[in-house]
Subunit: 98 residues, 4 copies
């Protein structure tokens, strides 16, 4: 039922894909940093919360880049392509919360 | 200037710490899954966005566990301990966004 | 610099506009309810916070309706219309936070 | 089942209550402004979305003030008062989403 499954034509832009990959590598490193923090018995709750928030901010940023690319490459021409219902429904789903 | 630095007494509860560690290991695995998705040329934007959202949901959950433990162990007794200003300020900071 | 200023052609769908109006009237009523709560000396913080959250949920719902209509009527055909840059920029701006 | 019902002792600080009332009056005015916008046939979706976002920002601000007061007056001394479970549970509930 995925759009990608139906036509195989809508692909994440290669530059954005590479940028997202690079950012997620850095986010993985950040999470490994939190994992190391959590090995210390003396770790303080609020320090963990700050790091989690920072990772969420970084994820929001990747998401924003992918979303912008999606809007620009696949949403603004959905009428021409003829898949408005699906494009709008899946976008609303993804935007629903945060 | 960290609270932890000032007194060394406020520590994340060991069980919550272990639970958070376990959850973050799973989140790291999830991110590695997204990194693998991003290696495929045909990956679709919305599929990436859904996965990012799922990771953010999982991070929110870890954050919620740590926050609840912090409230229960360190915030509800701050008046007795005498560090209300700092406890409230750092909590407001952490809750500010999302 | 508003889009609306540049061409006057992009308008909120009349049915969605009427629905939004109706919902915002109800939200205004909800806020008046909170104002009445706040006149009582004995009002409890958490009861106010719950009501504020409920109003934010209702506003999210109106926003979602307007956004969906905007996507469907004005975004999916931006390529044809030739204003992709502006449509995407203003959408990213509006989606940036929450 | 409300905390307020059980003891009647936990009250929103009078100054914060007055500040919240003043802010909510202004928010009501803002919503009336959006209602007037929505009477115009030519209103543009994104202009409505921006105003809704602005109102949500203002509500977040009131919520933040009330929350800070609640933390400072009622949460930091919950251990002494002996209602930790209820205080933490209702706070987690209110913080759950946004």
């Amino acid at each position: 039922m995925e759009h990608s499954a139906c036509c195989g034509e809508l692909r994440l832009d290669p530059d954005v894909r590479e940028d997202a990959r690079r950012r997620l590598l850095s986010i993985r490193g950040h999470i490994e940093g939190i994992l190391r923090m959590l090995e210390k018995e003396s770790v303080y709750c609020v320090d963990v919360l700050k790091q989690i928030k920072a990772v969420e901010g970084a994820l929001d940023k990747v998401g924003g880049k992918v979303l912008q690319s999606h809007l620009r490459e696949h949403v603004v021409n959905a009428r021409e392509r003829g898949d408005v219902d699906q494009i709008v429904a899946e976008l609303m789903e993804v935007l629903k919360y945060r």
